[in-house]
C-alpha cells in the first residue's frame, strides 16, 4: 500500500483531503455565523454611532431597574443578570450535549439537549416580561409642554434628562385631569383613585409638588427602536435556536444519529446556540452596562 502512505504525506493544499480538517456542513455553519456576526455587529455599531451623535442618552441603570414581583423597587441590572446567567448555563448544557454526542451516548444527549431547550425558553420568557414591562409602563414625562403618562415605545422615550421644576410647574397647567389623578395616586396613597377623580383640576394641582416629581423630558426617540430592534433580532435567534434544538431532540429520540454513526448535527446546532450566547454578551454590554 505504497500509494496510501503517499496520500497521507501530501501537503494540506495539494488535494485529496480537507485542508480545514472539518466536515462541510460544520464549516458552512462557521461561515454563516461569521456573516451573522457582521449583521449583529452592524446593528450594534449603528446604535453606537447614533448614541455618540446625541448630547444626552438615557442611563441604562435608570431604564432597566425592574424585577418581576418586586413592584416598584429600584433594582438596576438585577433582572438582566438573571437573563445572562440563564444563557450562560444553557450554553454549558449544550457543550455537555455535544460532548455526549461525541461519545455516542444517546441518553445523555437527550438529557442535556432538553435542559438547553428549557434554558432557551426561560430566556425568551424573561425577554417577553421585560418588553411587556417597558411598553406598558406608565412614566410621567414632559412632552410638548404637558405631562403625559407614557411607556417606552419606538415613538417615545420617557427617560430624557430631568425636567426643571419651573418647566414642570408650567406643564402641570396643561396636563389633563386624568393624568393628574394618575400622577398623585402613584405616590400618595391617602386618597383612593375614585376620590381623586372626583376632585377639581385646581384641587389636584395644589396637591402636586413639582419639585418632588422628578419628571423627565422626552428622551432620544432612537433608543426604543434600537433596543427593541436589536434585542428582538437576538430574541428571534434564541427562538430559532430553540426550534433547532427541539428538532435535534426529536431526531436523537428517533435514533437518526445513532444509525448515521455520528452526532455531527448536534455539534452544528451547538455552534449556533453558542453564537446566540456570544451575541447576548455584546447586547448585554451595549444596552445594559455602558
Amino acid at each position: 500500500m505504497a500509494t496510501t502512505a503517499n496520500v497521507h504525506q501530501t501537503k494540506w493544499w495539494s488535494g485529496g483531503k480537507s485542508p480545514f480538517n472539518m466536515e462541510y456542513g460544520k464549516l458552512m455553519m462557521w461561515y454563516f455565523l461569521m456573516s451573522d456576526a457582521f449583521t449583529f455587529g452592524a446593528f450594534l455599531i449603528s446604535y453606537g454611532s447614533i448614541r455618540f451623535s446625541q448630547n444626552f442618552w438615557p442611563d441604562p441603570n435608570v431604564v432597566f431597574n425592574a424585577f418581576p414581583g418586586a413592584g416598584h423597587a429600584n433594582l438596576p441590572l438585577a433582572f438582566v443578570s438573571v437573563m445572562t446567567f440563564i444563557l450562560i448555563i444553557s450554553s454549558v448544557t449544550m457543550v455537555l450535549a455535544v460532548h455526549a454526542g461525541h461519545k455516542g451516548d444517546k441518553q445523555a444527549v437527550v438529557k442535556w439537549l432538553a435542559w438547553t431547550i428549557v434554558g432557551g425558553l426561560a430566556f425568551l420568557s424573561c425577554q417577553a416580561w421585560e418588553w411587556h414591562h417597558l411598553i406598558t409602563g406608565e412614566h410621567a414625562t414632559l412632552i410638548d409642554g404637558q405631562i403625559k403618562m407614557v411607556g417606552q415605545t419606538t415613538a417615545v422615550n420617557p427617560w430624557g434628562d430631568l425636567a426643571s421644576a419651573s418647566a414642570v410647574a408650567d406643564a402641570l397647567k396643561n396636563t389633563s385631569h386624568e393624568t393628574l389623578v394618575q400622577l398623585i395616586s402613584s405616590h400618595d396613597h391617602s386618597f383612593s383613585h375614585e376620590q381623586l377623580a372626583g376632585m377639581s383640576q385646581e384641587k389636584l394641582m395644589s396637591m402636586v409638588n413639582a419639585a418632588d416629581l422628578h419628571i423627565r423630558e422626552n428622551g432620544p426617540v432612537a433608543f426604543g427602536g434600537y433596543f427593541y430592534g436589536i434585542t428582538g433580532f437576538h430574541g428571534f435567534h434564541v427562538f430559532s435556536g430553540v426550534v433547532i434544538n427541539i428538532v435535534m431532540l426529536i431526531m436523537t429520540q428517533k435514533d437518526i444519529f445513532q444509525k448515521r454513526g455520528h452526532y455531527l448535527m448536534i455539534e452544528k446546532a451547538g455552534l449556533y446556540w453558542h453564537f446566540v450566547d456570544l451575541v447576548w454578551v455584546f447586547v448585554f454590554l451595549c444596552f445594559y452596562l455602558i
Binding site: 480537507s18 455599531i45 444626552f56 431597574n65 423597587a73 441590572l77 405616590h187 455520528h262 453558542h274
Partner: protein
C-alpha cells in the same frame, strides 16, 4: 483488487474525508475540568461586570460624577466582554481546537470590526460636534442641564410608574 486509495471507504457517506474527526480525543476527566473552569471563569467575569455596572450607577447618582472614572470603568467592561467572547468561541465552540488554517479564515475577516467600530463611532461623534457648533437650538434643547439641585436628585431614579 485495485490499489487505488479510497479515503471514504471506512466511514459513512455523509463525511467526505477520513481525517475529519467525529470523536474528541480528550478524555472525559480533562474535558469536564475544562468546561467547569470555563463556566466558573465566565460567571466570575459576569459578576465583575455587574459590579462595575453598579459602580457606574453609583457614580452617576453622586454629587460630582467624574467623567474620566466612568469612561475607565466602561473601558474595563468592554475588555472583560472581549475576554468572555474569547472563552465562549475558543472553548465552548471548540475553535481553539481546530487547525490554524481554519481559525484564520474566521478570525481574519472579523478584523474588519476594528475599522468598522472606530470609523462609525468617530462619525457619530463628529456629527454631534458639528451640530452643536452650527445648530445652537439643537445644543440648547438636548444638552443635559446643570440645573439639578441636591433636593431634585431622585432617590429612586425613574422608578415610578
Amino acid at each position: 483488487m485495485s490499489t487505488h486509495f479510497d479515503p471514504t471507504q471506512h466511514i459513512s457517506s455523509s463525511a467526505a474525508y477520513p481525517e475529519v474527526s467525529f470523536y474528541e480525543h480528550t478524555d472525559d476527566a480533562t474535558f469536564k475540568k475544562k468546561v467547569r473552569k470555563t463556566t466558573i471563569l465566565l460567571s466570575v467575569i459576569t459578576i465583575i461586570e455587574l459590579a462595575i455596572g453598579l459602580a457606574i450607577y453609583t457614580i452617576h447618582k453622586g454629587e460630582n460624577p467624574s467623567a474620566l472614572l466612568v469612561l475607565m470603568f466602561k473601558g474595563a467592561v468592554c475588555i472583560l466582554t472581549l475576554a468572555k467572547a474569547y472563552y465562549i468561541v475558543s472553548v465552548f465552540m471548540h475553535l481553539g481546537d481546530e487547525i490554524r488554517n481554519m481559525i484564520m479564515t474566521i478570525v481574519v475577516p472579523l478584523m474588519l470590526f476594528i475599522w468598522f467600530i472606530i470609523a462609525f463611532i468617530a462619525d457619530g461623534n463628529s456629527y454631534k460636534n458639528l451640530r452643536n457648533k452650527y445648530d445652537k437650538h439643537f445644543q440648547e434643547s438636548t444638552m443635559p442641564a446643570k440645573h439639578h439641585s441636591a433636593e431634585e436628585k431622585p432617590a429612586d431614579a425613574g422608578g415610578k410608574q
